[in-house]
């Protein structure tokens, strides 16, 4: 485990030693902030109207935080491939993978280390968005429990994209290919339930179960359902398992 943490630390430092980490965090905050602003403006305008007697009372969790989280999933879909694309590809291209594979470290320690490193960057991205939430708490009374559930959902959903990105990155030396392939794969898992519209009920149920974002809806509402937890955790575990198989195969091929 200490090896995994050493690798996670190296990964995280790697993100912030180069511009990548800062650029990703910055752009993410920018887009998130833009969404936040538009929803906030919409919310303020509507609540003023509801004060004047038009429509019912406004709920900040329901009409601001929830759509904001749903939009965050889109940004994450775009941003996470750029975090994971270099994890293995870059090590393979530059030959540093030789250092890791000849150190007294198991494949799993490397994989867990890389996963935690990417999660670290992702979580710091999410942490930056808490500033916006703090603004809400300063000027309003949102409920904090759905907020925690939403963040938990974002972390888990991001974990799925990261574990998938790690696997795809372990397949190629080229980080651009890894990035694009991860984005496409993520998009597939995102829209897979759209196919269900014209399919039989069973197929539709399966397809919607496979959709990463479908499982997020409950989290955005503030509901933590074990069904979704299990889906996300097993998705992450499966991605990491595939990565370990891919690393092992690569060894044999040489």
């Amino acid at each position: 485990m200490r090896n995994a943490l050493a690798i996670a630390g190296k990964e995280l430092r790697g993100y912030f030693a180069s511009p990548i980490g800062w650029v990703i965090c910055g752009l993410f905050s920018l887009i998130f902030g833009w969404f936040f602003y538009t929803y906030l403006e919409y919310f303020v305008r509507n609540s003023m109207q509801s004060d004047m007697g038009q429509g019912g009372p406004m709920n900040i969790n329901l009409s601001l935080i929830r759509p904001l989280f749903s939009n965050a999933t889109v940004i994450i879909l775009f941003v996470l491939p750029s975090i994971t694309m270099r994890t293995y590809s870059e090590e393979k291209r530059s030959g540093t993978i030789e250092l890791l594979l000849t150190s007294p470290v198991t494949d799993w320690e490397i994989i867990i280390g890389k996963f935690l490193g990417a999660m670290g960057l992702y979580c710091s991205m999410l942490a930056a968005t808490m500033v916006y939430m703090a603004i809400l708490f300063a000027y309003g009374q949102p409920e904090w429990k759905p907020l925690v559930a939403g963040y938990l959902g974002l972390v888990l959903m991001g974990g799925c994209f990261i574990s998938m990105g790690l696997f795809i990155s372990s397949l190629t030396k080229n980080q651009i290919i890894a990035g694009i392939a991860t984005f496409i794969a993520g998009l597939m898992f995102w829209v897979i339930n759209w196919l269900g519209d014209n399919a039989s009920p069973t197929t539709a149920a399966i397809l919607s179960y496979l959709s990463i974002t479908e499982h997020f809806d409950d989290f955005a509402k503030g509901v933590v359902d074990t069904k979704h937890l299990i889906f996300y955790l097993s998705f992450i575990a499966f991605g990491l398992f595939l990565t370990s198989k891919s690393v092992d195969t690569e060894r044999w091929k040489g």
Binding site: K10, S18, G95, E98, S103, R251
Partner: protein, 334 residues
Amino acid sequence: MIEVQHLTKRYGPVTAVDDISFRVEQGEILGFLGPNGAGKTTTMRILTGYMPATDGKAIVAGFDVFAKPIDAKARTGYLPETPPLYPDMTVREYLTFVAKLKMPKKTTAADRRARVEAIMKKTFVDDMAARHCGKLSKGYRQRVGLAQALIHDPEVLILDEPTAGLDPKQIIETRDLVRSLKGDHTVVLSTHILPEVAQTCERVVIINKGRVVAVDTPENLTRQLRGSSSLYVQVDVTGGDAHATLRSVPGVTKVDVADRHEGFVGYELHAEQQRDVRRDVARAIVDRGMGLLEMRPMRMSLEDIFLQLTTNEQSAPGEAPTPAGQAAEGGSHA
């Protein structure tokens, strides 16, 4: 310390390493010599646990690299062909990271720091400690790579072309460093620079096309392969049959024309082993009224041996009783 038995590595239809066996004793420096693509790097990668072999066994520091990879790796230092550096890390950060991975887990942070500083001094990179690895010159990269391999004071060191890309002064420093490791560490280094082998290694394994062609000390290899000593003689041939004259000298077994100029010819003489024919050759030529212009012994350098061994194999794969074949057999049983 290192024992390799019938190691074979195939990449699909290509056999990169074909049934290699050799041993390296504790504290020894073994040179691994071969043309590009001979299987040096593949063998080293197998020994370091980077990739598994298709067949055969490799024991490093008492541990089978396939069955107990973590134990074997903890006792092995490896410098790959391209030093595995992270460009965004400073030299100190990088070595600290490697120390965390490779040094025993009970090592304290203070010990680790001290070790990183000590190894930077030892490999002459301490003046670049705060520089990013990506901004280092080739020589420094190579030495940081060496520092990385040495950081956990491994019993076995495997160096893939440690002097490649260095300037002459750095080459000498690196060689001295490698030589200073002798005794405490068992070293296997690969190279295609032959004088390097003669200077640093106690034994040489020559491999070609994935097979061991010779295992011996550099001196023995030179001696065995010299076979007959040869002589270069340049003669002013006006007024005599130099070829016949040389042929008639007792002890001379073979006369070849090496080069031909207007009026004089260079010959290459092969004499019986341990027999000095120079006086007789000189007298014979002068006595027949010809002019002796030049005479010098033709020594076989390690280069010639290397070429002979690695090209023999190509032209006559089945023929065993060449000196090379004997050397290989003698070596693998040693």
